[in-house]
C-alpha cells in the first residue's frame, strides 16, 4: 500500500469510528436526545480519540527514540507515575472522607505523570546529549532501562495502594488501571497536549528517521542530537501523561498502531506521526463504541477490549509473511 493511500484509509476509518462512536450508546444504537449527545457521547468520543491519538503518537516517538519496535508509551515510566498519582488521590480522598470528582483523579494522574517525567529527565539529562561514535549508541539503552526501572518502582507503589484500599475503592481503581473512558468528559486537555507534542516534533520529523539509524550519523546530517532527543522525550511524556490522565492506562494502542502502519508502508516519520494520531484515535473510539454496547447496559473498560481485539490482530500480522517491499 502506498503511504498516501494508507493515510486516506486511516482518515476514512477515523470518520467512520467517530460516527459509530457518537451513535452507539448503552441505551441502544441511534441518535439520542440532544442533551445526552452533547454532554455524554460527543465528549466521550473526543476524549477517546484524543487519548488514542496521543498514545499512538507517543508510541511512535518512543520507538524511534529507542530504536526499538517493541517500545510503547509506557516504557518511560510516565504511565506508572500517573497510576500512582491517580490511585493515590483516590486513596487520600477516601481517607479524608471526601468523594473525589473525576477532575481530582485526573489531576492526581497528571501530577504523578509529571513527577515520573521529572525523575526520568533528571536522571538522563546529561546522558541524552551524548553522541556515541558507534551508531548503536548507548543513550537509547540507558533511556529504556531507566524508564523500565521507574515503571517497576511505580507498579510496586500501585500494588501497595491496591493493598491499602478498601473494597469500595478497589473497583474504581482497577477500572482506572485498565483504561476506562466511562464518564470521561474533559477531552480538551489531551487534545491540547497532542497538538503541542506534534507541533514540537513534526516540523523536524525527518531528523527522527536519521536518529533511528545512528546518533553520530544523524549528527553529520546537522541534527542537534541532544536537543532533538530531549524534545522528543518531552513531547512523548506530555502526550502520554495527558492521555493517561484522561482515560487511564489503555494498553496496546501505542505499541501496535505505529507498528501496523509501518507494515502498511507508512515508514517515514513525517507521515508516521500524523498517521499514528489518526489511526490511534480511530482505534480507541471504535473499540470504546463496542465496549459500551456489547453487554449494555454494562460498560466494559475500553482497555480490556483494546487488548482483546488488538492482540490477535497483531499476532496474525506478525506471523503473516513479512511483506517484501512495496
Amino acid at each position: 500500500m502506498t503511504p498516501p493511500r494508507a493515510l486516506v484509509l486511516a482518515v476514512a476509518a477515523a470518520l467512520l469510528a467517530c460516527i459509530v462512536g457518537v451513535l452507539a450508546g448503552s441505551s441502544g444504537f441511534g441518535l439520542a436526545s440532544a442533551d445526552i449527545m452533547t454532554s455524554i457521547r460527543v465528549p466521550r468520543v473526543l476524549a477517546g480519540f484524543g487519548a488514542g491519538a496521543a498514545l499512538a503518537v507517543s508510541g511512535a516517538l518512543m520507538q524511534l527514540l529507542t530504536r526499538n519496535a517493541l517500545a510503547d508509551p509506557y516504557v518511560l515510566g510516565v504511565a506508572g507515575g500517573a497510576a500512582v498519582g491517580a490511585l493515590g488521590a483516590i486513596l487520600v480522598a477516601a481517607a479524608a472522607g471526601m468523594q473525589l470528582s473525576e477532575w481530582g483523579v485526573a489531576g492526581g494522574a497528571a501530577i504523578g505523570a509529571a513527577a515520573a517525567s521529572a525523575l526520568l529527565f533528571g536522571l538522563l539529562w546529561r546522558r541524552l546529549a551524548s553522541t556515541a561514535t558507534s551508531s548503536g549508541g548507548d543513550g537509547a539503552a540507558a533511556l529504556l532501562l531507566v524508564g523500565v526501572m521507574i515503571g517497576s518502582g511505580c507498579s510496586a507503589l500501585v500494588s501497595l495502594i491496591l493493598t491499602l484500599a478498601d473494597e469500595g475503592q478497589l473497583r474504581g481503581m482497577v477500572f482506572w488501571l485498565l483504561g476506562d473512558l466511562n464518564g470521561a468528559t474533559h477531552w480538551e486537555i489531551v487534545w491540547i497536549a497532542l497538538a503541542l507534542a506534534l507541533a514540537a516534533v513534526w516540523p523536524s520529523a525527518r531528523e527522527l528517521d536519521w536518529l533511528a539509524r545512528g546518533d553520530a550519523w544523524a549528527a553529520t546530517l546537522g541534527v542537534a542530537v541532544g536537543r532533538r532527543r530531549r524534545t522528543v522525550l518531552l513531547a512523548a511524556s506530555l502526550a502520554t501523561g495527558a492521555a493517561v490522565a484522561t482515560a487511564g492506562t489503555i494498553g496496546f494502542v501505542g505499541l501496535v498502531v505505529p507498528h501496523a502502519l509501518r507494515r502498511l508502508g507508512v515508514r517515514a516519520a513525517p507521515l508516521l506521526l500524523p498517521a499514528s494520531a489518526i489511526a490511534g484515535g480511530a482505534f480507541v473510539v471504535a473499540v470504546d463504541a463496542v465496549a459500551r454496547t456489547i453487554v449494555a447496559p454494562l460498560q466494559l473498560p475500553v482497555g480490556v477490549l483494546a487488548a482483546a481485539v488488538g492482540v490477535p490482530t497483531f499476532i496474525a500480522m506478525l506471523l503473516a509473511q513479512p511483506a517484501r517491499g512495496r
Partner: protein, 283 residues
C-alpha cells in the same frame, strides 16, 4: 564490469582546491584523554580528485580518524578544516552538503525498503516531502542502478545480506550529494566483483571533482583506489603521504607484524604474505 553511464553530477564547479585539511590531529581511544593515544600530530591535505585510503591494524584508530574528520569524534589536539573553515565553525546542515560520512555499522530497527534507505539523506531541504518523493526520483534510481541494486529497490533492508546492505550504505552516502566522502570500511562483506565496482565508482567520484577518504583492509584494493595513504601503526605512529611512498612492503610488514612481499603485476603492486615466515611480534 559495468558500463557506467555519464553522471550529471560534477563537483568541480562547487569550488576547487583543498577540500579537507587536518593539522596536527591527535586522537585518544574512545575520545577520552585518559585512554591510550591512537596517534599524534597527523597532517593531511585532501584536495579535489584525491582518494585517501586509511590502512592499519585492528584498533589502530581508522574509524576514529574518519569520525574525527566528519566531526563526530572528539579531537585531543589539532584542527580539521573543510573548505578552509574549521569544523566547529560550520553550520551543521551546510557541512552536510559538503561531506558525507558512512559509518561501519548501521542500525535498521524498522522495516524500510532499499529505496527508502538509500534516499534517507537525499533532498534534505525538501523537508517532509523529501521523505515521500523517493519513489519517483530519477537520481535515486540512477544511483541504485550504479550499485546494481535496482532489482532489490523494493526489498526490505532487514532481509539483505551483509554485502547488499553495504552497497545500500554506499548509495545512502552518494545520495547525500556531498563532494567529500568519508567511508568507514565500505568494502567489508563485498565480494570480489563488487569490490571492483566500489573502486570504480569512487575513482569516478574523484574524477568528477569529489574526494574520498576511506578505510580499507585489502591492500591490493587500497593500491588500486588510492592516490594517497594514511598508515596507522597501532602504536601511536601515523604516516601520511603519496600511495607509492607509503604502501611499501617493508613498512607494511613492520606495521602488521607479518612478512609482506610486493609483486609487480602489470604495473600494479600486489601484496602477499610470505608463507614461511612465522608471525613476528611487532611490538
Amino acid at each position: 564490469m559495468t558500463a557506467l553511464a555519464p553522471s550529471p553530477r560534477a563537483f568541480a564547479d562547487r569550488g576547487s582546491g583543498v577540500v579537507l585539511e587536518a593539522s596536527a590531529v591527535s586522537l585518544h581511544a574512545g575520545g577520552a584523554a585518559r585512554q591510550r593515544r591512537l596517534f599524534a600530530r597527523l597532517d593531511l591535505r585532501v584536495a579535489a580528485g584525491d582518494r585517501w585510503v586509511v590502512v592499519g591494524p585492528n584498533g589502530a584508530g581508522k574509524s576514529s580518524l574518519l569520525a574525527a574528520l566528519a566531526g563526530v569524534f572528539p579531537i585531543a589536539s589539532g584542527s580539521v578544516r573543510v573548505d578552509g573553515i574549521d569544523l566547529a565553525a560550520w553550520a551543521p546542515s551546510a557541512l552536510a552538503a559538503r561531506r558525507a560520512w558512512s559509518p561501519q555499522f548501521w542500525s535498521d530497527p524498522f522495516p524500510a525498503t532499499v529505496r527508502e534507505t538509500a534516499a534517507l539523506a537525499h533532498r534534505r531541504d525538501a523537508g517532509w516531502r523529501g521523505a515521500l518523493d523517493a519513489r519517483d526520483d530519477a537520481e535515486v534510481e540512477r544511483v541504485l542502478g550504479l550499485l546494481l541494486l535496482a532489482a532489490l529497490a523494493d526489498s526490505d533492508v532487514q532481509t539483505l545480506s551483509g554485502g547488499e546492505r553495504q552497497r545500500v550504505a554506499l548509495a545512502t552516502a552518494l545520495l547525500q550529494d556531498a563532494p567529500l566522502l568519508l567511508l568507514d570500511e565500505p568494502a567489508s562483506h563485498l565480494d570480489l566483483a563488487h569490490q571492483r565496482l566500489l573502486v570504480e565508482l569512487l575513482l569516478r567520484h574523484a574524477d568528477e571533482g569529489g574526494a574520498v577518504v576511506t578505510s580499507l583492509h585489502d591492500l591490493d584494493l587500497a593500491w588500486d583506489l588510492a592516490s594517497h595513504v594514511v598508515l596507522l601503526d597501532g602504536r601511536g605512529g601515523a604516516v601520511a603521504g603519496r600511495r607509492d611512498d607509503v604502501l611499501v612492503a617493508d613498512r607494511l610488514g613492520a606495521v602488521f607484524g607479518v612478512a609482506i612481499e610486493a609483486i609487480d603485476l602489470g604495473g600494479a603492486r600486489r601484496f602477499v604474505v610470505a608463507p614461511d615466515d612465522p608471525v613476528t611480534e611487532a611490538r
